[in-house]
Symmetry: C2
Subunit: 203 residues, 2 copies
């Protein structure tokens, strides 16, 4: 490390990480937060793939004190491995990722926790799970310490996202309790439309 | 249709379907409920695959009045396309499927509903979703009238499963609010272990 060395990262949470790095590193050189949105539940060098970042987004999260030349170099690094680079503030990044990444992990943990070891009439429920359950819970296999830390480092947006999810669950529960076929069709129809626009995502 | 013709089905809910069929068909011939646990969010003849049932479970759900010879013939049909056939009562089937299939659909609808059209700082959150969100919500793309009917035809077990999910969400919320790293690690660690035992399920 020489004076002027740029410190960057690839963490899934940016407010806490960038603040901590800026507080401790800036006497040495510039800090630039980054988060490539790519990966799987796998981890470690054996899970490496040369095309992991190609065509994926990488969010770079400068702050008002960021060195613009350093931001440009980090953006260049990510563009160099094929990522589509975009800037936003750490706070906006964390609010968005709480919805599209952190909340789905919480949901997957809850789903596996609820069904997990359940036995009905002497049968392990999980033995009867198909591809739907498998896909819905895949991310629950992610590394535990990583996700413990992500959720705690972004706890306020994650709890807000969880509250938003509960509103939707309450509405579905209400429609089920009422036997409201038309209302249920409207809610799941909207979800289907949004999900289909999002694409099948075979990659 | 001749006298003695066996009526069977492949629906995802068995109590309501088998009761309705037994009430209306048994003057003609025997009724045998069945549910092959295989499929995807796709539907229609164009989504057909010759190996769809190979190595998958098919649940056959006789009742006390079922004709055993007819049950054996239906079991043979499913074994003939490669399924592993198992018998259970319609009620046990519906309780199990509520957990491993119907609940994950409700969760996927809620997740897509919560994140769906959300805009944060002028950005569509869904544009930043990765493979985790994609997998977790894939089943929300399933045919709407089919899932409206499945959920309503199995409403009591589905609501019970939803209540069980809420217990898990409450616990995760409590740990997040308390900043309880050890507790969070224990809960998501258990979910990770269960999910890993379940397998990666690339098929």
């Amino acid at each position: 490390v020489r004076p002027g060395t740029i410190l960057t990262d690839a963490a899934s949470v940016k407010v806490a990480v960038v603040a901590a790095l800026e507080a401790r590193w800036t006497t040495t050189g510039p800090v630039v937060g980054a988060h490539p949105i790519a990966g799987s539940e796998a981890s470690g060098a054996e899970a490496a793939r040369g095309d992991l970042f190609r065509g994926r987004r990488c969010i770079v999260t400068p702050t008002p004190t960021s060195d613009r030349a350093a931001v440009a170099r980090v953006a260049e690094l990510w563009a160099g491995v094929g990522a589509s680079v975009e800037e936003m503030t750490p706070a906006v990044h964390d609010e968005i990722l709480a919805r599209v990444s952190h909340l789905p992990h919480v949901v997957a943990y809850a789903l596996v926790g609820a069904v997990g070891d359940m036995v009905i009439d002497g049968r392990r429920t999980l033995d009867y799970a198909g591809t739907g359950f498998r896909d819905t819970t895949r991310i629950a296999a992610s590394p535990v310490p990583v996700w413990r830390d992500i959720l705690l480092a972004n706890v306020t947006p994650v709890r807000a996202a969880l509250a938003e999810l509960r509103v939707e669950l309450d509405e579905l529960e209400r429609l089920l309790a009422a036997g409201d076929a038309a209302g249920l069709e409207a809610v799941i129809g909207r979800a289907r439309d949004v999900r289909r626009r999002f694409g099948t995502g075979e990659s």
